[in-house]
Subunit: 340 residues, 4 copies
């Protein structure tokens, strides 16, 4: 029988924190022993009334020693900048493994500076592993610090990477992405006000979004070749869900892009190749990335769908936790969507 | 170790059929061995693309002998009238236990005739047990045929029944209910067209809905006293969810209606008494019925929330299956909501 | 030819401020000459990007003298408390007529104190006229200060008042109301966050909402008899719209409640008696109040629908402006809904 | 004083039929004298309950002679194929001008055959004018038969056409479009069921949609050069609205694409150049096409927003009716959006 591993969630008040709790509660080998937020002094069911009667752990003010004492794996669901301050401290405890859901350890130093400003923990940055299992599974298994990927990069990279080898040197990648509102976080702002986004849709930060360099960097590492990415995200009136519509020019005429994808991803438990363009809802609540592709002349169109809070954050984080614990990566990872 | 019980789902194409599949796939002691629809000749993942890669059983045209051969428990998710024709045949097989999600066995013969017309199986109707565990748990355990309650009656009865003893003889019960669109079924009709119900809300069949007599009859059985129920349902632009706002006049001044409810339901695993009016979403995807009550003068206001497809149909059906199998009724029954 | 009347909108940044602008822009006899907010220093199209290219007036910081100089009618769309401070000053200018959309002048002094706290302008409170044309049309015509009704009271009073004469002395009135999210205002708060209210619905402040005494008081004035009102509002995932479901006990058996309503409201341009329960959307964008009623035994059920921002605020305010200007009250008042 | 022109709407039961009615009711020089549907025998307010009390004209079964007798301009809002049978007959009446909202007269004969099959009225097809005022205004003024553009082509062509001259000969155009559900029509089908599309989004007919050749053909006519268009439409959970995200490669570095657009469209009353990506809602209920553009390297990204039922159908049709009547094209054309 497998041992029970104690885990902590730091940043338990947000949407990804709640999703982590929900998944981990169903996990046979992980036990949540510590919850913290910046303010502490509450309980899990006060933060998240849907947990009332199910899970009612005290929520502490962040305390590094307490974290180290109570857990072996730490999930960090904190804003960037705040995250790196915490990681820096936690990395000092040898027995801890850290899965950071923020942007702080996803980029190389220079790209981070360009997109987010100064980095305060460049030492640990060097050893952080980008937690996208399909691309970096073996490295993840031995990591001490995992940078859990952003939602847009996850949806985009999983769609583009199989086709990288067909791209000419100078070809650029166009990504028209669509995200549900939960991706913008729990904080109330003009764009997350119901009246703003209901019956509405719009692009934001087109060609200037911070996830653009994250996609470029990871594709370059995977494919050994830089390609410029043009990234236009849209906000959509759904709570959870993400589509990534990818347009690339290739010279080859693929006999059947779907068959090619099936072969490419044949051993992957969380990739599904679909006969029709994937829908947001078919993957909602799961760790699946559903993929479709079609070619017309030189244009290859790829569409991927993920749940931004799950595959784009929390369930992917637990897959990573499974991997660093030498568990089967599928253990307790949701596969059944919330349809209808 | 418990034996594995084979179960069939007849009427697998609708929303409640899908919810049954999703719950039963997670059940350690039930195994889905047979799926059928009126037309057959398909598979579970063609009917429900979200199941692609997860569950891909053939779906048959309904065949009584095959059902009997392949299963011990049958879930029927068929339209009323069609249901009773099937039940009548299946009841002939001694080893079968039947959980019917239609309206056909919920009412006494006379009430059925008034609301739905002729009944073709009055014999079996007599022995059907109304599958609301909080009221009829012991009878359910020994039933061969269970009439799974309607969603509106479930939400309403669980709110009213604790307070029945405070009602004067002639008092009437007012119920203003609100239902998500999935309650209207998968068939496309004017009222389920996105453009009709999005950004909209309206009452339908006020004071004339078929669930009115179902509520009246079950409350009378439970409380040994008839009370007229005035029932006004509303259609709400959400996919799943149901609120039942109940208004009754009582003479007693309750010290604390919430405390009273906590005591009344103290041993119930699927009732939560809330400090604030319950929300649809906190119970979405679960079998919970959340309840709130407040008194002002002689008026007692009670608000309940359920997921119309789960507690109002499929998860309650699996609870009933657990009970007739002498399992713990909570096994595999979802408690974690889909919030956010 | 009618003269052109200059009007000011003070509090132009919110939803009701925008609705006022949109209606007044179409009005042949009113001309918006002054816009103000607490902070000023902007323009109408910066506050409301949908007005870009259509209406681009500077928006001032509130200045009483400027208001008085530039206009004859002032619409106030300010929060309560702030409103009364402004009204008090504006009332000193003899030529000004004021239509206040806040709660500050809707209640008698005592009721105001109980619900909102101290009142700073009890002098002007005495002469304020409640701006519900169907009940107080003649008084409105001669008013200097109009207290524009709340959305819930408008929807409720128009449904109950025709039937007041059938109520026994001690009968109480039950109102189960449903409001779109815009009623909660433009300020971002937990309840107006998209993720909170999307796919959700819940009651708030049940039996304790501030509009309860407003309904009670106006019904008492109209019917010369006090009746306790039990009021339970619900928040619904639509941007605009309101239903008021009213339950009262009457002794009379009405031959046909709809025919009775048609007669009662026969000369009213903004009341429609419907053959079926009214829908939120059929009145969205208009000043209509649609009404349905049905009796079952002694219970009379009435359902009304209004647009909370229009009949519940801005279009009713412009009707009142028409009345105090001796114009036909229907001039420029929207009657065509935004369906689909 | 201008004369009053009698107009007929044939196909009055759908969403575009209703929008036509709503606009024409506000028009000072057009008078609706005839309404028809395939089945007839009803009234406008029975078809569209929101019109109750406002507009209650009888609705006839289609009768060519009656149409000719009662009107000078005919709006046809019929399905394709049905439309051409009607147009063919109506064209025989010399005094009639026809505005056809179907696809039947939008394409050259060959393209029509490829996309829709046989054409039964190739004679009249030759003289039909494509009713996009910004491109073909002068021809529209003298037309007898106007082919009102599709919603996707309108949104796409208005975004691309200003930049055509910067495209190299072989450059292809990528369009990622998003449409509200009303674009799919009033007929209830699986994709328009509330439960299917609520909380969901997906591409459909990618690279194979019938509007692709319509866009290609009109751009070729306007720019004297064929460019392949790759068109991927998505269905979005809003009732009305459309975004068209356009990606093209150009060699020139534009100093300021927005300034260029402002100059290009400087005399256009229904084009707005926005500083930020346009939102669906800012144009909802209006005839505006809002446009934004940004360049990054050689990639030019253009985003346009229209209301699919208005600029994409009915309000554009009335603009065309204004033009063929020698009226100011802006008369009675909605400019004020339904925000909030």
């Amino acid at each position: 029988m497998k041992k029970l591993i104690n885990v902590a969630i730091v940043g338990a008040s947000g949407y990804t924190g709640l999703e982590l709790i929900k998944i981990l509660l169903q996990h046979p080998h992980f036990k949540i022993t510590y919850l913290a937020t910046t303010e502490g002094n509450t309980t899990s069911s006060k933060l998240h009334p849907s947990l009332f009667g199910i899970f009612d752990l005290p929520v502490q003010k962040i305390d590094f020693k307490q974290i180290a004492k109570s857990s072996e794996i730490v999930f960090l669901a904190l804003p960037h900048k705040t995250a790196m301050q915490t990681v820096q401290e936690l990395m000092k405890f040898e027995h801890l493994k850290i899965i950071d859901l923020s942007a702080d350890y996803r980029l190389s130093l220079n790209r981070y500076k360009n997109s987010y400003g100064e980095h305060l923990d460049s030492e640990n940055l060097k050893q952080a592993i980008y937690g996208l299992p399909e691309l970096f599974r073996e490295k993840i298994k031995n990591a001490k610090l995992i940078a859990n990927p952003g939602c847009y990069p996850t949806a985009s990279i999983l769609g583009v990477s199989p086709f990288l080898k067909f791209l000419n040197e100078n070809e650029e990648i166009i990504i028209d992405a669509k995200s549900g509102v939960s991706g913008a976080g729990k904080k109330c702002e003009s764009n997350t006000h119901y009246v703003t986004i209901n019956e509405n849709m719009f692009a934001y930060n087109p060609l200037k979004h911070r996830h653009e360099p994250e996609i470029e960097e990871k594709l370059e590492i995977f494919g050994n070749q830089f390609h410029k990415v043009h990234f236009v995200p849209h906000l959509v009136p759904v709570t959870r869900g993400m589509l990534s519509s990818i347009y690339i020019k290739i010279n080859n005429l693929l006999t059947d892009p779907l068959e090619y994808l099936r072969e490419f991803y044949k051993n992957e438990p969380f990739i599904r190749i679909r006969e029709n363009p994937p829908t947001m809802k078919d993957v909602a609540g799961t760790n699946f990335c559903d993929i479709f592709a079609r070619q017309s002349g030189n244009l290859l169109y790829i569409e991927t769908a993920i749940d931004n809070l799950m595959r784009g954050a929390s369930s992917q984080a637990v897959v990573n936790a499974n991997l660093i614990s030498n568990f089967d990566e599928s253990i307790a990872i949701p596969k059944i969507s919330i349809v209808p």
